[in-house]
Every structure is written in structure tokens, then in C-alpha cells.
Amino acid sequence: MLLLNVVAIPKDDPIAFTFFTGYMAMLAASVFFFFERSRVSDKWKLSLLVSGLITGIAAIHYYYMRDYYMATGENPTALRYIDWTLTVPLMCVEFYLLTKGAGAKIGLLWKLILASVWMLVAGYIGEAFNPVGGSASHSVMWGVISTLGYLYILYTAWFGEVAQLASRSGDPLVKRGVSILAWFILVGWAIYPIGYMCMPGGWLNSAFGWSSGSVDLFYNIADAINKIGFGLVVYSVAIQATANERVSS
């Protein structure tokens, strides 16, 4: 009875494969982060909770995206953006939590959240409300608007408030953690505009015939690396910092 609704996974469908593995990997990462909370000192518990929430929210959305893809064979655009709209701001929260000890104010948190929501909402409008057949002006305008949000976050992580706070903290662990997360923003997040350019009229669509379906594979892998990787960086900082605190006390 339990198996009646199981959908067969085609052997030659890597996208379906990665939806399944992505869902399980995110779920496993969430369990890991939640359990490991008890091993870190109090000031790091919130950071691990947020890491667990990021992968947990993604796991649930991947569960639904998996089913949507298996049932329709289509790209679950709306579900992806719903997931990103929740998890990306939470990733920005991690920057705030990492630099809170160095004096980060709540204003920094709101600025990063606003920038990430700006980036995602603009991207969604550009992708989901693209007129049938594709409209260059619509896609360009919302693509540029979305990119501005991304560049603000990138600047903040590399030169702005986050980078300056990490530098002023004098804590090598925090500096290293912020630096690695900044690299995630620079390289890891850069993969997402690829899907945007696969829209009708987009460069990847015109030059290579790529459609949004083609990049589900990249999105699934990128999401897993970015979200789980992000959490693991925070985890490693928390564990090491806790160990240092125990040694010094």
C-alpha cells in the first residue's frame, strides 16, 4: 500500500536523480546541524540552528520539486524561487551572526535581507512574468535590477560592513569563516543567473538551445553545494571556536 504512489525514476534522467539526492542530502544535513547544536557553545547555537533551517527548508521544497518534476517533467520555477526567497536571506543572516561578536548591528542584518529579497523578487518577476515568446526588454530590465542586489551583497561581504567587522574582530576563525562564505557568494551564487539566461530570447537559449529544464541539473547540484557547504563552513567555525573556548577556560 505504501508503494502505490511511488514513481519510477528513469535510469537516464540525471535531473530526477539529483532531485532525489538533493532532497536526502539537505535532510541529512539538517539532522546533522540540529544534532550538532548540542556540541557547540551557547553563542554558536543560533548559527547552527539557522544552518539547519536553511537545509531543512530546502529539503522540504526539494521534496515538492521532486514530485512536481516527476509528474510534469517541467522546471519547478515557482517552487525554486519560494525556496530561494526563504533560504537566501537566511544565508545572509549567517553573515550577521558570524560578525555579531565583532559589533554587527541589526541594521546590517536588515540591509542584507533586503538586498537578497530584492535580488530574488526581481529575478522571479523577470523569469516568471516573461511574456510568451520572451521579451528582451523585460528580461534585461529585471535581470539588471536583480544583479544590483547581488552586487550589493557581494560588496558587503568582500569590502563592506561584513568584511570590515570580520577584520576588526581580530578572531582568525571569524575572518576565515567570513572569507570562505564570501567566496561562496562570489562563485557559488554566480551559477544562478545561468538559468535566467536560458529563458526564451536569452543568450544560452539562442546560442545553445538550452531551456530552463536543461539547468535543473546545475541548480540541484549548486543548491546542495551552496546550502550544505555554507552550513558546514559555519559548523567548522563553531566547533573550532567552542574547542578554543574550552581550552582557554
Binding site: 535581470g143 536583480s146 547581488y150 552586487l151 569590502f159 543567473p193 543568450w203
Partner: protein, 300 residues
């Protein structure tokens, strides 16, 4: 990452956002943007050669200007008799110069490895431009009788080969050389190189090269020149810097405009493209020589 590198990343992301859907930007618009950017940043970055050289060498200004102009005159003569050789020289000097400005922070002392890394980096960038935009470049040069002579240099397979060999050689020398670059710097340089390749592949070649040349090369050199002069000249500020680079910038712009006028009035029987290539090469060679000395200066 430096703020300049960030600016380059920002410019490329915005340009890619714009051009990925717009179906390309009209060549006339591209040329206007390129001309303005080069006039405002590209030309001025070379307009400090006299100040930089004379600040660090005990020679008379007369000797400097005579030598500078002699190099230009000799190169001009070479162009008249051996245009293909001159063009290859232009590409070779540019490659070295681009690599030098990008990697000089890591390689301070003269040596084979230093020279090889600079040249190979520049060759990698130029071959990316040539290979990814081969058709467009052939079309542009082929449209003019005098410039079409230079299409012999644009063999697609040569630039593909140059691209692969330069990348391989760069990795090899990086691995075996004694000079060690920090992990984060290496990652950043790799990221920038990938971004340059991406921009040359995705963007129209005029726009892509302008973005690289103006933001990553010229602006960086201008900042280095400013830092140097600020350390050597008392009360040196941005205003003084602009005043210092203004004279030779204006000379270059006036010279260029004169060239255009001569072509317009058929006194000079060359195409505008050939005029641009020759004029740019004539100021690149002495500039690259001066900058080579600048990067090897003893700051002790």
C-alpha cells in the same frame, strides 16, 4: 579581492545581464562607448610616462622625450615597410604589458619566470579574444583593404593553439616556480581570468575588450601611478594627479584627431581601423618600456 577587481566583476555581470537578451548592441554604439572609455581612462593611464620615468631616473627631460619619440618614429617606419611584423610586435608587447600590470605584485624581481608569466598571461587573454571572436574580427579587418593584410595574423587554429599552450604553460610554471602565490590570491586570479574569458565569449568583442582594458588594466595602472607619485611628491592629491596627466592626454587626443582629419581629407590614405591600430601601437611600445622599468623599480 581589490575594489578594482570588484568593479570589473560588477561591470561584466551588468553587461552580461544586458547583452544576454538584447540580441547584441549596435557596433556604432559599442564604438562610441569604447572611444569615450579609452579617451577618459585608457589614454590617461599612459600619459604619466614622462613623470614616472623622470621621478625615478637622473636623466634630462630632453633625453627622455627624444628617446620616446625616437622609438615611436622607428616603429612608425617599421609599420610602413613590414605591417604584419609590426602588428605581431604590437600584440606581443601588449600581451607582456597586460600580464605585467596584472601579476607584477607577485613577481617583483627580474627573471625568466617573471617574464614568462607576464607574457603567457597576456597571450592567454589576447588569444581568448581572438579565438572566441574570430569571425567578427575577421569581418572587421576584412572590410578594409589595408587592414585586410593583417588578417593573416588571425588564423583561428593558431589562436586556439595559443590559448591552450599559454594556459598549460602558465599552470606548469606556477607549479614549478619558487615564487609562491597565496592560495586566496591564486583563486582570485583564476576567477578573474575565467571572468575575462567569459566576457570575451559572451559579450561583443569591442565591449568586452574595452571593459577589460579600461577597468582591469588602465584603472589599475592609474591607481598604481597615483600611489607612487603620492609617495614621491609632497602634497600630491587627486587634483594634482589630473593636472599632471592632462597635458600628454590632450596631446594624444589631439594627435589622434589630427590623424582622423588627415584620413578624412584623404591626405593619409588609410582606413580608420588601420589608423587606430597603428596609432595605438605607436604609443603602446614606448609606454610598455617605461612601465616595465616602473614595475621593476627598487622601492627600498
Amino acid at each position: 579581492m581589490t575594489k578594482l577587481t570588484f568593479s570589473f566583476i560588477a561591470v561584466i555581470y551588468i553587461l552580461v545581464s544586458i547583452t544576454s537578451f538584447s540580441g547584441g548592441i549596435d557596433i556604432a554604439v559599442q564604438l562610441v562607448i569604447a572611444s569615450a572609455a579609452i579617451a577618459l581612462v585608457g589614454i590617461p593611464h599612459g600619459a604619466m610616462d614622462n613623470v614616472l620615468y623622470l621621478a625615478d631616473h637622473a636623466v634630462s627631460p630632453f633625453w627622455f622625450y627624444t628617446s620616446y619619440l625616437a622609438v615611436i618614429a622607428a616603429y612608425c617606419t617599421l609599420w610602413m615597410f613590414l605591417p604584419i611584423v609590426s602588428f605581431v610586435l604590437f600584440l606581443g608587447v601588449s600581451a607582456y604589458h597586460f600580464g605585467e600590470s596584472q601579476l607584477s605584485d607577485y613577481y617583483k624581481e627580474a627573471g625568466f619566470v617573471r617574464g614568462a608569466m607576464f607574457f603567457l598571461w597576456g597571450v592567454n587573454v589576447l588569444s581568448a579574444l581572438m579565438y572566441y571572436n574570430h569571425e567578427d574580427i575577421m569581418m572587421a579587418f576584412g572590410a578594409f583593404e589595408d587592414a585586410s593584410v593583417l588578417t593573416a595574423v588571425f588564423d583561428e587554429y593558431f589562436w586556439q593553439y595559443a590559448l591552450m599552450v599559454s594556459a598549460t604553460a602558465l599552470i606548469f610554471i606556477l607549479g614549478v616556480s619558487k615564487t609562491k602565490i597565496s592560495h586566496s590570491s591564486l583563486m582570485m586570479e583564476l576567477y578573474v581570468l575565467v571572468l575575462i574569458h567569459l566576457s570575451f565569449y559572451v559579450l561583443p568583442f569591442v565591449l568586452a575588450f574595452t571593459a577589460y582594458f579600461v577597468v582591469l588594466h588602465s584603472a589599475r595602472v592609474l591607481m598604481e601611478e597615483y600611489d607612487f607619485l603620492q609617495r614621491h611628491i609632497r602634497q600630491f592629491d587627486v587634483k594634482k594627479f589630473i593636472k599632471t596627466l592632462l597635458p600628454l592626454t590632450l596631446v594624444s587626443l589631439v594627435g589622434g584627431s589630427l590623424g582622423v582629419l588627415l584620413v578624412e581629407s584623404s591626405v593619409l590614405e588609410v582606413s580608420y581601423l588601420m589608423l587606430a591600430v597603428v596609432l595605438l601601437s605607436l604609443i603602446t611600445l614606448p609606454h610598455a618600456i617605461v612601465m616595465s622599468g616602473f614595475y621593476l623599480r627598487d622601492e627600498g
